[in-house]
Structures are given as structure tokens and as C-alpha cells.
Symmetry: C2
Subunit: 330 residues, 2 copies
């Protein structure tokens, strides 16, 4: 491709080729500007601020360029939004890179409840209903209090996410930074040059001429997705090689959780993996470290869950490790 | 399959086989009960109520039984939620069958704005900010006013949707009813007996043994989806054969819109197709009728869009046709 041949000093890894072949999102320049400004404000303070990038929510994988259909990863964004709150409470500055319309810190307490819609919070005079008022005032207070410590950034597609992650990582790379990668990122995608321009038609006679292969003779849709290059390797080795990197493993099969989490640590040599099962993720996680063979389980009882959320315990554990990590470099 | 052979009087169409082979959602009994109660209340009034089923939002297609990944159809639910409001204003009772967390009537004016989160509507005392108060009080008033005329029902997957549509149609089938099918329903799905139990693994060694075919040698994900049977035919011919049925065509390619809309009318023999293009759907639609060769275009200028939404004009047109349709049966 001409775009590749014009860039002579680029290594020819799948990760490099990804950014050459999949266009930069229009919103990226604005995201970089916002991140730079946020970092500048952090640097002005005298505290040698600790910063965490929290990624949250699922990425989408468009199946058409004029996107009608997409593949999505289930994630409301609870882990990320709740953890972001906890990092703020611990004095961190938080960059919250999240899927548009997924749960947000503080706001999450009023979002995505099946039986409560926006107008249900109000009485007919437009006043907040008494039973919600106390929590609302408290969350508004916290939201205002941490306003300048929290940068909200969004993505939709996996392409948005990968460009954003690389850009932020390069701006952020030092030992005072944590990458807390709670987003549910697709393992597969359709490369830009294979995306049909228009909606995939259910009858083959209306297929985009160049893309007829999508529907086979028996009327089935056959989708063929490429693996997303392993960006965690670039993050650990290059983009953020001075930062503390924490990835997440979500599995549904208990037999695979530990083996897959350990494999991730071996493959990428980053600092921590947090493993969780879909069914029990709100009450049980396991933290695996590169340095020790041990697994730290965090498990909560029903009683404990009434008092706090598991993210308080996770972030408490993580920030202690981060302090040790910073000190270990002295 | 034993489940098929035990039901002797079932015709062996793809649609019949669908309901035999894809299990009833757990929530269906509750949905049927709510719909029956709503219909009973309608029948108690002396006005021979007009009823519309509005479907809204996109269906999801799970790729795993413990769903982490799914295919989704883009739809915020604006057309459906806004049209539901207009039908209420015209005196209809509205059954609003929508994707969970998609836009809802009246609530939609405060949902899914990129730059306004829930807490942004409030000041630090927990009072609604003055600039939003007037609209909030008005929408709350309308929401309360039409409370008993509006039944809210939800779906997530295409399977939820199809079971719900069939059940509601059979309860609702008479000339006073409109089926206004604005939901974006997937054309493809993974049949229940082909769904992997667990999350599809990106490395073939961790694949569910019975489903190894998902990942090929080069690490690509190959998905093979069956066509969703053509339920519109059953709706028109059987389930709701006395009701007025309106389907929607969303296309991204202007060259296909009219030809595909006409083809739908020919294939299914229902009353109306409303066609729209993804880019211009908020200001331009075309209504095609079974009876006449003409296409009715509704187009709005920038000035007109400041005054009202296109759904007011669409529903005005539809309800006039519905009155004629009812009278034509006398």
C-alpha cells in the first residue's frame, strides 16, 4: 500500500500496520488536546500527582462503513465508573476513557435502571422526589468536588479506542501513572479496507458488488473478522513502558480464569491482571501479579456488599501496590 | 428433534420451526399478562379505543449463551419514542415495545446527550437547573397525563422481540389496531442449538470443544449466521390479519430505498412501508401504500424542524389512513 511505503522507518509489526491501515478518528485531535491540557494542570500542582487512566465500557466493531450493524461487547461500565470514583477518593487524577453512554462516575447511581426512567425522579412540580434527594445531593457534591480531577473522554468503536489509548499512553508515560484497563475490548474487527460501504443486504441481489461474499447460497451471513493486534504488548514495551499497567480478564468459564490470567502476564510482562467471572464479578475478583506466584482473592459477603462496593477493595489494593511500585524505583 | 415431533399439528415452515427451536424468554409470561391487563382496561372504555403497537430500538443477537459478545443494530429509538408521543396526542392507546435503555416517550428529551449527564441537570442543592425546568415540568405533565394510555414493554435480543411480537399480535388482532414496526430487527441470528455456552476464545486451544470451528487457522473469527425467518408474512397473514401493519425500511444507499420498499409491499401484502435513509431520516421519509402506486414524500425544511419533529407529520398521515381503513370495513 502506498501509505505504508511512504513511511520508511516504521517496523512492520501487525500493531504498526494497524495504525497505517485504519484511519485516525476525527475526534482524536480534540481528545489529545483535552488530555494535554489536563496533564498540564496536573503538572502545575506541587504534589507530583498520581494519575490513572481508567478505560471502561465495551468497544463496538462496525460491520459497515455507514454503520447500521455492529458487534458489541457486553459492558455497562460499572467496574470502570465505580473504580474511577475510588481512585478520586484516593487522591488520584483520573482520565476516564469510556464508551459513549456507558456508566459514568457519580452519575452511575442514577443511570440504566430498568424500572426508573429520568422523569420518575421528579414530582409534578419538577422537584426531585424526596426518596432520591439525599443521594442526589451527595453525588452532585462529589461530582462538583472532583470536577477538576476528572477528565471525561469517550470512544465508540474499537478503532476509536485503540487510537485514543496509544495517544494518551504516549502523553502519560511515567511511574506515577496507572493504566487500569477495565474496558471490554473486542478481540476481532473488520479492517477498514474490507468494510462494505453500505448496509449488508439480506438478499444477495442487492449486495454491494465488491462485497458479495457476505451472503452465501443458502442465505446465511458469513462474517470473517481479523484478530485485533495485541496492543497490550506495545503498551507495556513502548507506549507506557514506565507506567504501571493493569489488565482485566473476564471469563464465563471458571476453569479458564486463572490459566488465562497467568498466560496474559507471561505474554505481556505487565504488572497485574485482575480476573473475574461474568456471574460473580460484583462480589469476587482475583489479582495476579508478575512478581509473585500468589493469587490475591477479594471476596465479599452479602453483608459487606450492603456497606460498600468491591471496587473500593480493589482500588485500595491497587493503590498500595502503586505506592510500592513508585518507591521501588528510588 | 423430539420437541418438533411431539407437536403434530404444526406446519413445518421456517417461522414455526423458529418457535419450536428457540426457547421462550423467561420474561414472556409477564409481558403477556401486562398486555392482557392493558387490553382489558382499553375494552372497558366505551370509545372503541384505537390501539397502536410501536416497536422501537435495535435487537441484539447474542453470539454466546453466556453473552459477552453480540451483534447489534444501530438505533437510539428516536423514531419509535417520538412517534409514540404523537400517537398518544391523537388519542391512541400505545403499547411501546422497546429495546431496554433505548429512548422512551417524554423521557427521550433528557436521555443520551453526549454533553449532558444526569447530574448536570441539577444545582448543588439538588434542584433542577433553571434552564431545564420548563421543559421538564411540561414533559412530566405529559408523562403523567398519558400514563394509563401507555404500556411500556422491553426486549433485548431478537429472540425476545419475536416471541413478544407474536404474543402481542395474537392478543391485539382487530381493525382498530396499528402495528407500527419501527424497531431495527436483525436479519440474521445464531440458532439456540448452535450457540456456544461460553465466551468465544481468541485462541483456538481454549475453544469450547464442540464449537472449535469459530476460529480458523489464521486466527480469524468466522461467524456463520442463519437468516431470521420472515415474520412479517406471519404477522400479515395470521397473527394480525385484521390489523393495519406498517413496516419500516432503513437504507444507506439512496438507489435501493424505493425498490426495496416496493419489494417489501409485494412480498408481504401489508398496508404501508415507510422508507428512510440513515443520513436524512430525521427530515425526510417516503410512505408507500399497497393500494396506490404513489409515493408520499414527507420532507421538512430547517425552519419546519425548529417547530416540530417529522414524527408529527408521519403520525398525522398514518392516523388519517387508519381512520379510512377502519371505515372501509363497514
Amino acid at each position: 500500500m502506498s501509505r505504508v511505503s511512504s513511511v520508511c522507518d516504521v517496523e512492520d509489526t501487525p500493531e504498526d500496520r494497524y495504525f497505517l491501515n485504519n484511519p485516525k478518528p476525527e475526534s482524536l485531535d480534540d481528545l489529545i488536546l483535552k488530555t494535554s491540557n489536563f496533564m498540564n494542570n496536573c503538572n502545575k500542582s506541587e504534589n507530583n500527582d498520581k494519575i490513572v487512566l481508567v478505560t471502561s465500557g465495551g468497544t463496538s466493531v462496525p460491520l459497515e462503513n455507514n454503520t447500521v450493524r455492529f458487534i458489541d461487547n457486553f459492558s455497562a461500565g460499572t467496574r470502570g465508573a465505580s473504580s474511577a470514583e475510588q481512585f478520586l477518593f484516593k487522591g488520584y487524577k483520573v482520565i476516564f476513557l469510556h464508551r459513549e453512554f456507558s456508566l459514568q462516575p457519580f452519575n452511575r447511581h442514577f443511570m440504566r435502571f430498568t424500572n426508573v426512567s429520568f422523569l420518575d425522579y421528579f414530582d409534578s412540580n419538577g422537584e426531585i422526589a424526596p426518596k432520591y434527594k439525599k443521594e442526589l445531593v451527595e453525588m452532585k457534591r462529589l461530582s462538583d468536588l472532583y470536577k477538576d480531577q476528572l477528565l471525561m473522554l469517550t470512544f465508540t468503536s474499537v478503532n476509536d479506542y485503540l487510537w485514543a489509548l496509544r495517544s494518551i499512553a504516549i502523553l502519560l508515560n511515567n511511574r506515577n501513572c496507572i493504566f487500569y484497563l477495565a474496558a471490554a475490548v473486542s478481540d476481532f474487527y473488520v479492517p477498514y479496507d474490507k468494510l462494505p460501504e453500505h448496509k449488508i443486504q439480506s438478499r444477495s441481489e442487492f449486495q454491494d458488488e465488491s462485497k458479495k461474499k457476505h451472503i452465501n447460497e443458502s442465505g446465511k451471513l458469513v462474517l470473517d473478522l481479523d484478530p485485533v493486534p495485541k496492543f497490550l504488548r506495545d503498551l507495556v514495551q513502548t507506549w507506557a513502558n514506565n507506567s504501571m499497567i493493569i489488565s482485566f480478564k473476564l471469563e464465563t468459564d471458571p476453569n479458564l480464569l486463572i490459566v488465562k490470567a497467568k498466560q496474559a502476564l507471561e505474554n505481556y510482562n505487565h504488572q497485574l491482571v485482575i480476573g473475574n467471572l461474568l456471574d460473580t464479578r460484583n462480589r469476587e475478583v482475583v489479582i495476579l501479579s508478575e512478581k509473585t506466584a500468589d493469587e490475591t482473592w477479594i471476596r465479599m459477603t452479602d453483608e459487606e456488599l450492603k456497606q460498600t462496593c468491591i471496587e473500593e477493595l480493589i482500588v485500595d489494593n491497587i493503590t498500595q501496590r502503586h505506592t510500592e511500585w513508585i518507591n521501588s524505583s528510588d
